[in-house]
């Protein structure tokens, strides 16, 4: 929706979803509920990484654990230098745990953060999983 070309829709949906700045891109699940939000301009790879992260979150919300892990791993593998990668690594581990019930998935994720994204907030969040 363009702020001028679709002014009425822009205002209506902007109020509904709390979008107060452009560019804002929302990823909605099939029920119309927001699962991920991207605010501000991003370079192509960062943008694609965020979109893929959002698809992972949408699958996670639907309890499609394997689909979610696939999307999260795609972010890490295809866009390892993106801002989304550390968050995706974290949620990939959670998705694997949800699918398997095996706590080693979390320990493996914590170990992976020992090798990459060490300074990210997601590394701190995963630190409690260390074996």
């Amino acid at each position: 929706m363009h702020v001028r070309e679709q002014a009425a829709d822009f205002q209506r949906f902007g109020e509904r979803y709390g979008a107060q700045w452009t560019p804002t891109i929302l990823e909605l699940d099939p029920q119309g509920a927001e699962q991920h939000r991207v605010e501000g301009f991003l370079e192509t790879n960062d943008f694609l990484a965020q979109l893929t992260l959002g698809l992972g979150k949408t699958a996670f919300k639907a309890k499609k654990w394997q689909d979610a892990e696939k999307r999260f791993r795609e972010v890490v593998d295809r866009y390892p230098g993106s801002d989304a990668a550390a968050e995706a690594l974290y949620w990939a581990g959670v998705s694997r745990y949800k699918a398997s019930g095996d706590a080693s998935a979390l320990a493996d994720t914590a170990a992976a953060f020992g090798k990459r994204y060490r300074d990210s907030p997601w590394a701190k969040k995963s630190s409690i999983w260390k074996a």
Partner: protein, 32 residues
């Protein structure tokens, strides 16, 4: 990743629900 942009948001939300597909909602001020 190819995005099929549409502008009829109300219909898009209905279609997404019927087809069990996610939606990308873009709030833009970029030059058209």
């Amino acid at each position: 990743m190819e995005i099929n942009w549409r502008h009829d948001v109300d219909q898009v939300l209905k279609d997404a629900k019927a087809q069990d597909k996610p939606v990308l909602l873009d709030f833009s001020a970029a030059p058209m």
